[in-house]
């Protein structure tokens, strides 16, 4: 019996946010191995955009809250940085926050290029993340199981955030 302490060949990140009807938003990022086994989870406490933020950011408030404010806090605290990040909400894709990590969004968004991620899943990648994504593509092909669903861990993150927000309330 031996602990497997080495970093998996392909470390995946899954970032998801949930918003409450009351206006509170929280986000979480799950880091897993290429087989979906969790390695680390970071989630933010719920935050509510204040009046100044609403006035200043206007229609870009959500991309700011989800893509910058929460994402940056989570990224800074992550011990295991992912090789690639998956999101479902285009608002979560912010340029610059995730550094050199390629970000793939499962929902279509402006300026995104459609890419084949696994046998059954396609995603959108912005021009800024394209180089990082293309660098990771051979690894994804090599290590991800054929039947893997990369949207499934995002459901886990969403459920975890619901649970965390429920307890925090």
């Amino acid at each position: 019996m031996a602990d497997s302490k080495k970093r998996p060949p392909c470390v995946l990140g899954f970032y998801q946010t949930v918003a409450r009807p009351s206006g509170e938003i929280c986000g979480g990022v799950l880091i897993t191995s290429h087989l979906g086994r969790p390695i680390e989870f970071q989630c933010s406490l719920p935050i509510r955009p204040n009046a100044t933020q609403q006035t200043l950011y206007g229609t870009t408030l959500m991309p700011f809250i989800k893509g910058e404010l929460i994402a940056e806090a989570l990224y800074d605290k992550l011990s295991a940085k992912p090789d690639i990040l998956f999101v479902t909400d285009p608002d979560c894709v912010a340029e610059g926050i995730w550094g050199e990590i390629g970000v793939v969004c499962f929902a279509e968004f402006p300026n995104g290029q459609e890419q084949q991620i696994t046998r059954n899943e396609k995603g959108f990648v912005t021009a800024n993340h394209l180089v990082a994504f293309q660098k990771m593509q051979p690894k994804l092909k090599e290590y991800l199981p054929e039947s893997a669903s990369l949207q499934e861990p995002l459901v886990r993150v969403e459920q975890a955030l619901d649970e965390a927000m429920g307890q925090a309330a």
Partner: protein
């Protein structure tokens, strides 16, 4: 320039430039003393501090405080060395495909809803709850992505594994034949791999040790199992070795080795699993007390029969599981509430609604005249003898009478008359004509041999403890393959466990066993997963005899079980009769100074 001229474009007037004199005009006085006034004055700029702080900063950059975060780190995976494959068989086991990975040309299986691990209701810590929520679906773990399984588990088995994985206290009470062992082994495998447990103690009855070893090898071949055996010194060393992931022992060794240890000397475990946990139903037994003293973080019980006689037995299991305080006696309502949280029980009807049903029918028969006469003599003589024993009467005396009477209901030893045999022959004519097969169970090998002589026309075969072990397998093979072999006579003791006879459509219970769970085990040889046709079970019960009285007592006890574990549970349970109930089969009275008094222990 005329700006009002409409035909001309609008032009602004040219700016007027007045010339200014640049000389500084200074008049000199007559004295001529102010000639310096003709020079330009010297002008400079000096910095001066403000007297007060200004009230407005014209430039402003927003700063937002970062949200607070919560981190959960997951334990590292524990790798176990894979054993070397043993030939073709192992290779075949590894060729299983994960769900959704069908090859071309293969019919597509309907998509199965992934089985997620849910945190137990009594788990309060957010970190602990999130740990379970964030685990991948079991199918991802077990269908070749990370762990190899020899066979794909059924949906209810996935659910059972997910439930066990998250439970600190659990009683898995699935009906026999649904795979309690496999579910437990897989849950243990996942806990060990995910680093949730590092030291597991498995306790089972001694005869089941080889069974557990075999099942571990099949379902978790990479897990090293250490059996507690050898002399006292070796066993002491094994108890102290913390590096053993799974220690397998039986109840007797455990009680013997640990009963004299002080609390601080007790070996510590992350998980203690008790198979056939009704063995600790008596709280005051040495085994129960020793097991409860073992320091552990998780406590699991496995039994198909959590209540054998009284609901208090379930309380003893709950005490081991740490969900009730020591010596507490929860009432039926409380037990029901605890059962909802800590017991997982599924029946075949529940998990396999498509499984062909088991049709039970009681054949209520009248004794033949010769049997009737023999029975009455035996009963009246026997009761007189028991009454004469007075307070010296023991359970053994009553048992002897019960056995004698039960044998007469099977056949009259003098004349060989038997109403059960008549009915059996009539049924077997039809069964043999339709080409079907039947199994008959009796508790006596003597009865089986007697029946064999009278049912040879159906190609009858015999399988009981008197048959040498080497000959047993060929008998089963012949029964399965020979179209002329329609009846297999078996004893409860030998044929009730571990055989797959699901090709038989008929089961006869020639006489009643004391414990319906044993009868069920016997019936489950034919009615099990893989059965293609309904299984018809016929219980022979002679009216107005001891058989009918036993049946009544057992029926009443079933009702207690249903009250605690739910009315939907249609399976039979282990409700064997206790001493008071065996005495209660007869109205025994001893002579007293004034009239008579009842004999025997009082009912609980």
């Amino acid at each position: 320039m005329n700006s009002t001229n409409e035909k001309s474009p609008l032009l602004l007037p040219a700016p007027r430039v007045d010339q200014l004199r640049k000389e500084l005009k200074v008049q000199s006085l007559a004295s001529g003393a102010n000639g310096a006034l003709k020079r330009w004055p010297q002008v400079g700029v000096n910095e001066q501090k403000l007297l007060t702080r200004p009230g407005f900063v014209p430039s402003w950059k927003p700063y937002w405080q970062k949200p607070q975060t919560l981190q959960i780190a997951f334990p590292d995976i524990i790798e176990f060395q894979q054993p070397k494959p043993e030939g073709k068989e192992r290779e075949q086991l590894r060729s299983l495909k994960p769900p959704g990975a069908e090859s071309e040309g293969e019919p597509k299986r309907p998509a199965r809803k992934p089985t997620r691990i849910k945190p137990p209701d009594d788990l309060l810590s957010m970190e602990d709850r999130l740990f379970y929520i964030l685990q991948p679906p079991l199918e991802n773990w077990l269908s070749g992505q990370e762990l190899v399984m020899p066979f794909e588990p059924f949906s209810y088995q996935y659910e059972g594994i997910a439930w066990l994985f998250a439970q600190k206290s659990a009683l898995l009470a699935d009906e026999m034949g649904l795979g309690k062992t496999m579910q437990t082994i897989t849950a243990v495998r996942l806990l060990l791999r995910s680093g949730q447990v590092r030291r597991v103690l498995m306790v089972c009855p001694k005869p089941l040790i080889p069974n557990w070893q075999r099942e571990f090898k099949l379902w978790a071949e990479e897990l090293p199992i250490t059996q507690m055996e050898g002399d006292g010194a070796r066993r002491k060393m094994l108890w102290q070795m913390t590096s053993i992931p799974i220690l397998l022992t039986n109840y007797e060794i455990l009680a013997r080795d640990l009963q004299n240890l002080e609390d601080e000397e007790m070996p510590k475990f992350d998980l203690v699993v008790l198979d056939e946990s009704q063995r600790i139903k008596n709280r005051d037994s040495v085994t129960s007390q020793v097991i409860r003293r073992i320091p552990r973080r998780r406590s699991w019980s496995l039994t198909g029969t959590p209540i054998e006689n009284r609901p208090e037995e379930l309380a003893s299991l709950f005490e081991f599981m740490g969900v009730v305080p020591p010596r507490s006696n929860p009432d039926l309502r409380q037990l029901k509430k605890l059962a909802d949280v800590y017991i997982l029980r599924r029946t075949k009807d529940l998990v396999q609604p498509d499984m062909p049903p088991r049709l039970d029918r009681d054949a209520l028969l009248d004794l033949s005249p010769a049997q009737q006469s023999a029975y009455q003599i035996a009963e009246s003589d026997g009761i007189v003898q028991l009454n004469d024993l007075g307070d010296e009467i023991t359970i053994q005396h009553v048992f002897e009478l019960v056995m004698r009477l039960k044998q007469i209901t099977n056949y009259d030893p003098l004349t060989g008359e038997s109403s059960k045999l008549e009915r059996l022959l009539a049924d077997m004519e039809e069964i043999a004509a339709s080409g079907a097969k039947a199994i008959l169970f009796s508790q006596w090998t003597k009865t089986i041999d007697w029946l064999y002589e009278r049912t040879k026309q159906f190609g009858t075969l015999v399988y009981h403890g008197g048959v040498p072990t080497k000959k047993r397998e060929p008998i089963l093979k012949q029964f399965k393959e020979d179209p002329n072999s329609h009846l297999l006579l078996m004893s409860y003791g030998t044929g009730a466990v571990g055989l797959n006879l699901q090709f038989s459509q008929y089961v006869f219970l020639y006489d009643r066993w004391w414990n319906p769970a044993i009868e069920d085990q016997a019936i489950n040889r034919a009615h099990r997963i893989g059965v293609k046709n309904p299984v018809i079970v016929t219980r022979f019960i002679c009216q107005n005899t001891i058989e009918q009285r036993i049946d009544l007592v057992l029926q009443q006890k079933r009702e207690i079980f249903e009250k605690v574990l739910g009315e939907g549970d249609t399976s039979t349970t282990s409700l064997s009769m206790n001493a008071a109930e065996v005495f209660g089969l007869f109205d025994l009275k001893a002579k007293a100074s004034k009239g008579t008094k009842s004999i025997g222990p009082k009912a609980a």
